[in-house]
C-alpha cells in the first residue's frame, strides 16, 4: 500500500495500520488484504464483484473493517457486499470509501451493501466517504444500503461525507420487523460545485418497530443537496426524521419529507430546517475573541461533529 492509499485508509476508516478483528481491504478493484476470525468469515463472491461477510450467531464485541480505496484515475467499479448477521450478535462494521483522483478521468465507486440481520442483534455500521487529489476527473460515489432488520434487533447507521466527493447519490432502504429499531445519523458537507442526493425509505412493518433518521448537512459555495426521506408506518410503530441544513454562499438544499401512516397506531414525525448560520451565533463567538471566519468554522465544525 502506498502513501496515498494509507492516507485514504486513515480518512475513511481511522486506521493507521491493519485493524484487529476481521477486515477486507479493497484497493483499485482488488482485495489486497483480508483477515477473518473464528466468528466472522469473509468470502469472495464468484458471480460478481464483492464479498459476503458472515457473522455467526452469538458473536459479541467484534468488529469488521471493509474499506475501499481508489487511487487509480479513471477506475469505475460496482461492488456488492452482503452482510449476514446471525441472531444475538453485537458487532461494529466500519465501511467507507476513499477516492484519490489526480487524473483527468472520472473515478467512480458504486456499492450495494445489503444487511440481513437476525433476531436480537445490535449492529453499529459506520460509513465514511472521502475524496482527494487535484485532477480534473471527478470523484463519484453512489452507495446503496439495504437493511432487513430482524425481530428486536437494533441497527445504528452512521454516514459521514465531509470532503472531496464531487457527486454522490446515496440510497438507504430499511424494512423493520417486530420490535426492531433503526437510528440513522447522516453528516454531510458539500463545497465547490459538488452535488449530493440522499434518499431514505423505511418500512416500519413490525409491531413496536421504530426509526429515527437524523441528517445534518452544510452546503457551501455553489454546491447542491437534496434530502428525501420516506417513512411508511405499516403497524403500531414510531418514526421520526429530521433534516437540519446550513446553507452558505450560493449553495442550495432541498428537503422533501414524506411520512405515510397506514396504521391507526403509527406515530410519525418529520422536522426540517434549512437556513444560514444565525448572525447572533457569529456575534457571540466574536465577543469571545474569534474572527468572523473563525466563528463560522467553529459553528460548522460543531454542527457536523
Amino acid at each position: 500500500m502506498d502513501e496515498i492509499q494509507r492516507n485514504l485508509l486513515e480518512q475513511v476508516a481511522g486506521l493507521h495500520e491493519m485493524p484487529a478483528g476481521a477486515y477486507n481491504i479493497r484497493a483499485n478493484g482488488q482485495s489486497v488484504d483480508r483477515s477473518t476470525t473464528a466468528h466472522i468469515d469473509i468470502i469472495t463472491k464468484e458471480d460478481k464483484q464483492g464479498i459476503d461477510i458472515v457473522i455467526k450467531p452469538g458473536t459479541k464485541k467484534e468488529s469488521v473493517h471493509i474499506p475501499v480505496l481508489l487511487s487509480q484515475s479513471g477506475l469505475t467499479e460496482m461492488v456488492y457486499n452482503d452482510f449476514h448477521v446471525g441472531d444475538d450478535c453485537d458487532v461494529t462494521i466500519v465501511a467507507g470509501c476513499g477516492i484519490h483522483n489526480s487524473g483527468d478521468s472520472d473515478s467512480r465507486h458504486d456499492g450495494i451493501h445489503t444487511f440481513y440481520i437476525g433476531k436480537n442483534s445490535h449492529v453499529k455500521y459506520v460509513e465514511k466517504h472521502y475524496g482527494s487529489g487535484d485532477g480534473r476527473g471527478e470523484r463519484i460515489m453512489n452507495p446503496e444500503t439495504v437493511v432487513l432488520l430482524g425481530e428486536n434487533s437494533f441497527m445504528e447507521l452512521e454516514t459521514v461525507q465531509i470532503k472531496g466527493v464531487d457527486s454522490t447519490r446515496r440510497s438507504t432502504t430499511a424494512t423493520l420487523s417486530d420490535g426492531a429499531k433503526l437510528i440513522v445519523t447522516e453528516k454531510l458537507m458539500t463545497h465547490g460545485s459538488q452535488t449530493a442526493e440522499t434518499s431514505f425509505q423505511v418500512d416500519l412493518n413490525g409491531e413496536g418497530s421504530s426509526a429515527n433518521i437524523i441528517s445534518r448537512s452544510v452546503a457551501k459555495d455553489d454546491s447542491r443537496q437534496l434530502f428525501l426521506s420516506k417513512i411508511n408506518g405499516n403497524s403500531r410503530c414510531a418514526g421520526h426524521s429530521e433534516c437540519d441544513g446550513i446553507i452558505m454562499d450560493r449553495a442550495t438544499i432541498s428537503a422533501i419529507p414524506e411520512i405515510t401512516a397506514n396504521n391507526l397506531d403509527a406515530e410519525l414525525i418529520h422536522e426540517a430546517a434549512i437556513g444560514k448560520i444565525a448572525g447572533e451565533q457569529i456575534t457571540k463567538l466574536m465577543t469571545l475573541g474569534l474572527t468572523e471566519e473563525q466563528a463560522e468554522a467553529q459553528i460548522v465544525n460543531g454542527f457536523l461533529k
Binding site: 466574536m286 475573541g289 465544525n301
Partner: protein, 241 residues
C-alpha cells in the same frame, strides 16, 4: 478605563424620520468600578451595552477604552483588547458543548478542572453540564448561568452584563449576587451591569439612570438608590424622561 464621548445612536423610523435611541451621552468610568445602569424599558440601556461591545456602531461620538479609540473597531478587536459581553438572551448552538464554549472563552486549552470550576461558581454541577450541547435542551436559566461562566472564564478588564437576572430563578439569583461581589472584590476588573434589580443596584459602586436615551442621573449608590426607590408607581428619576 472607559470613556463615552458624545455618543449617539439613531435608527431609521417607520417613515423617513430618524429615531434617536442614544442621545449625546458622555460618561467616564474609572478603573476597578462596578457600575449598574438602570432605567425604564426602552430607555436605551441594552443599546448602550451593545455600543460598548461593538455589536452596534454609534452614529456619532467616540468610545475610548484604556486610552485607545475603539469606536471603529470590530467586536473581535474589542474582545481581544479586553471587553466581555454577557447577552440578555444567550445564544444556542447545535453541536457546541458547554466545555467548548468555556474553552473558547478562556482563550486556550484549559484543564477540565478549570472549566468545571467556572461552572461551579455559577451554581451548576459541572459533571452534569460540561459535556452537554449549548442547545434547546438547556433551560433559559441554565443557559444564562453558562453565559456568565464564560464571562468569568474570560477574566477581562471590562465585563458588560445585559440584564443578567432575566430568566434566573430565586435560588440562582442569590448565587448571582455573590458571583458579582466576588468578581468585583477578587480582581481589578471593572463591571458594567444593566439591571432592574434593586439587589444588584445595591452592590454597585455607582448607578447610572438612563431614560429616553439620555443620562437622567449618575452618582454613588447611596445617593441614587434612595431616589430610585422613592415614591409609588415608579421612581422620580424614571419619570423625568
Amino acid at each position: 478605563m472607559l470613556e463615552l464621548q458624545n455618543l449617539s445612536f439613531q435608527v431609521s423610523g417607520d417613515t423617513d424620520s430618524q429615531k434617536e435611541i442614544i442621545k449625546n451621552i458622555s460618561l467616564t468610568f474609572e478603573d476597578h468600578t462596578f457600575i449598574a445602569i438602570t432605567g425604564p424599558n426602552g430607555g436605551g440601556k441594552s443599546t448602550l451595552a451593545k455600543l460598548i461591545m461593538g455589536i452596534e456602531k454609534p452614529t456619532a461620538g467616540k468610545i475610548v477604552f484604556n486610552g485607545t479609540d475603539i469606536t471603529d473597531m470590530s467586536i473581535t478587536e474589542r474582545a481581544r483588547l479586553g471587553i466581555s459581553f454577557a447577552f440578555q438572551q444567550p445564544v444556542r448552538f447545535k453541536g457546541i458543548k458547554v466545555k467548548d464554549l468555556i474553552t473558547l472563552a478562556a482563550g486556550s486549552n484549559i484543564k477540565l478542572s478549570s472549566a468545571c470550576d467556572y461552572l461551579s461558581r455559577v451554581g451548576l454541577c459541572a459533571r452534569d453540564y460540561i459535556n452537554r450541547d449549548v442547545d434547546t435542551s438547556l433551560s433559559g436559566g441554565e443557559l444564562k448561568r453558562i453565559e456568565i461562566a464564560t464571562i468569568i472564564a474570560r477574566n477581562t478588564p471590562l465585563s458588560v452584563f445585559d440584564e443578567p437576572e432575566a430568566g434566573i430563578d430565586l435560588w440562582s439569583f442569590n448565587n448571582l449576587i455573590k458571583v458579582f461581589e466576588d468578581l468585583h472584590s477578587s480582581t481589578d476588573n471593572s463591571l458594567i451591569i444593566i439591571s432592574h434589580q434593586e439587589r444588584i443596584l445595591n452592590i454597585a459602586d455607582e448607578i447610572v439612570v438612563l431614560a429616553g436615551g439620555s443620562v437622567q442621573a449618575r452618582g454613588h449608590r447611596e445617593d441614587i438608590l434612595p431616589e430610585l426607590l422613592n415614591g409609588t408607581g415608579g421612581c422620580k428619576l424614571y419619570n423625568q424622561q
